[in-house]
């Protein structure tokens, strides 16, 4: 009475009946791979972007820009032991450390290496009264108002931000000047402080307990703890 269809699995009528097995088993493997791949890519991408922002490429650390004169801090500050402040004479009195005027170079180089080819731009500068076009290495964005003088006065050494300048043949940015870098010290300056006599000392190491020693210096210098992390300290 009833019309029952019995369909044998082997004898299927491919043309007549509607098959809904649209995908091969491999398709599932691909789909899963795709899902896993997509998720890993998204996750990995996020991590990569966060990491990239801190990379040497983005922070411009470890790049030695070409300079008109291949000035070597290693030679002048390291081997000859000239104090930082001899050339960067503004560092204790003004916001900017100051690049040495050509005159400063010539105080020595009118006596020694007077004919060195390397120093031709310096002599040209003096002769033509045109500045030497250095490429700035330590640069902060326009909206950051950094002052060298107060940092020097409160016991932050040159080396803290600029690294071992005395070992750099060509100058490069040793520390990533990110806001994190600045704010880290502004939150807890103590471990980064040194006695005034060692401000320009590149090789200075805290004697025993950096934090304790720093706290003593901070107390002596009257550092305004807790007031150095609000925005207008650096941004105006």
């Amino acid at each position: 009475m009833r019309d029952v269809k019995i369909v044998a699995p082997i004898a299927r009528h491919r043309g007549a009946a509607r098959m809904v097995q649209l995908f091969s088993p491999v398709a599932d493997t691909w789909l899963r791979l795709f899902l896993i791949g997509g998720l890993s890519l998204a996750g990995g991408g996020t991590v990569a972007v966060v990491g990239f922002a801190r990379s040497a490429y983005m922070t411009d650390t470890d790049v030695r820009p070409r300079q008109p004169v291949p000035f070597s801090h290693r030679h002048h500050a390291g081997e000859l032991g000239i104090d930082c402040r001899y050339c960067h004479s503004n560092v204790e009195v003004g916001p900017s450390a100051g690049l040495p005027p050509t005159e400063t170079c010539m105080t020595c180089h009118s006596e020694i290496w007077t004919n060195a080819k390397m120093l031709e731009p310096v002599r040209q500068s003096l002769a033509n009264n045109t500045p030497i076009q250095w490429t700035r290495v330590a640069k902060l964005p326009d909206y950051v108002f950094f002052r060298h003088d107060i940092h020097i006065a409160k016991g932050v050494g040159c080396e803290t931000c600029h690294g071992r300048i005395d070992q750099m043949a060509l100058t490069y940015r040793a520390k990533a000047f990110t806001m994190e870098f600045c704010i880290d010290c502004h939150r807890g300056p103590a471990p980064h402080l040194r006695p005034p006599d060692y401000i320009t000392d590149m090789a200075w190491k805290p004697t025993s307990d950096a934090r304790k020693e720093g706290e003593e210096i901070a107390a002596h210098e009257g550092i305004r703890f807790g007031e150095l992390t609000h925005c207008y300290v650096c941004h105006r």
Partner: protein
């Protein structure tokens, strides 16, 4: 278990037929059963003795995770860089309530969706039952009962005959 066979598929006209048939199949001693219907059929789970789903717990876990992550996130960012915002407290719990609530729901809902798919073994594009001629109506207006080839009592010819006997519109074997 026979090689290359997934089970036997029987087609029924209505949910009621399916329910009645399922009952009979179980009475006949078949245990490894599944039904395929165009919409959820009330009572089928009881007859098939399906375990209670645990999606609710997945959702709860998601909710707890969402609330936790939201609170930890909001507390942490204010702990990490405490700034005076309009004289408001650093840990302004009432202000944190909104994001906490939103994330609770977000995590819970997503957990349930993912949990449901995961427990259902989806996505799974290729599946044996698709390899049958009549199954396309399972999403339209027919109600299918499948006896798995894994079932201890399964024997292709016998089972098919049994299914025909309890009123299936059609029966066929599903290749594995």
């Amino acid at each position: 278990m026979p090689e290359g066979l997934y089970g036997a598929l029987a087609e029924f006209k209505s949910p009621e037929d399916l329910l009645a048939a399922t009952r009979k199949v179980r009475e006949a001693g078949y245990r490894n059963l599944d039904a395929f219907t165009p919409f959820p059929v009330d009572g089928l789970d009881r007859i098939l003795r399906l375990p209670r789903p645990t999606i609710a717990f997945v959702g709860l876990a998601g909710a707890v995770a969402g609330a936790g992550i939201a609170l930890i996130m909001q507390f942490y960012v204010n702990y990490d860089y405490p700034l005076n915002v309009g004289g408001r407290p650093i840990y302004a719990i009432s202000a944190f309530a909104v994001v906490t609530f939103e994330l609770t729901i977000l995590f819970s809902a997503l957990a349930m969706l993912v949990g449901m798919l995961w427990q259902n073994g989806l996505p799974r594009l290729n599946y044996p039952v698709f390899d049958t001629d009549r199954f396309h109506r399972a999403s339209k207006d027919r109600f299918f009962l499948c006896v798995s080839a894994d079932d201890a009592k399964f024997e292709a010819g016998e089972t098919l005959a049994f299914l025909v006997g309890i009123g299936a519109l059609s029966v066929e074997l599903v290749p594995g």
